[in-house]
Symmetry: C2
Subunit: 108 residues, 2 copies
């Protein structure tokens, strides 16, 4: 069975949803704080356009990354662990093979 | 002679550059304050994307508007007067016909 064809039990879906939401909230809160800090440092037009460029990039990245779809969720979690938005132990409750896969992908 | 073919004397060019710069600084300062205010009110991801949308629109507008080109400067000034970034009397020193044209266009 390929990793993107694995099934997710009810318990796993619950663990996955909670972990996904937690990572999302962490990243969003960090972005909010970052935007406030950057905005307070803005003192010329170029700074505003830099902030705009930064937001364009983050929007593209966040929109693409938070894809709650079971066929790609192992990869999504691996990215979130790699980027520090999620701890591997917050995925406890998932099938061991999935956790091992996520851990291994997150170190790539 | 069409309005976009008029010539600008040295004195007029000086008046125009000063007025253009003044309007630009006013609009940029207002935008900086607005961005700081908006950023401080941001409390969820949608607020950040609203700020991003707003900056995209302002960037497009400002990049297009501040075109220091004598062939279109009468129209640029008319827009700046209309939008309140420039007072008509800050164009004193320009040829009367130009000022009248700018005033009339700004009321359209």
């Amino acid at each position: 069975m390929k990793v993107n064809e694995v099934s997710w039990s009810d318990l796993e879906q619950e663990v996955a949803q909670t972990a996904f939401q937690k990572a999302y909230e962490r990243e969003v809160n960090a972005l909010i704080n970052e935007v406030r800090d950057n905005a307070n440092k803005v003192c010329k037009l170029e700074d505003i356009w830099s902030l705009h460029n930064y937001l364009s990039a983050r929007r593209h990245e966040i929109d693409g990354k938070y894809d709650y779809n079971y066929s790609v969720l192992v990869f999504v979690f691996a990215t979130l662990v790699k980027q520090g938005w999620l701890h591997l132990d917050e995925l406890n409750g998932l099938d061991k093979e999935k956790i091992a896969k996520i851990g291994s992908l997150s170190r790539m």
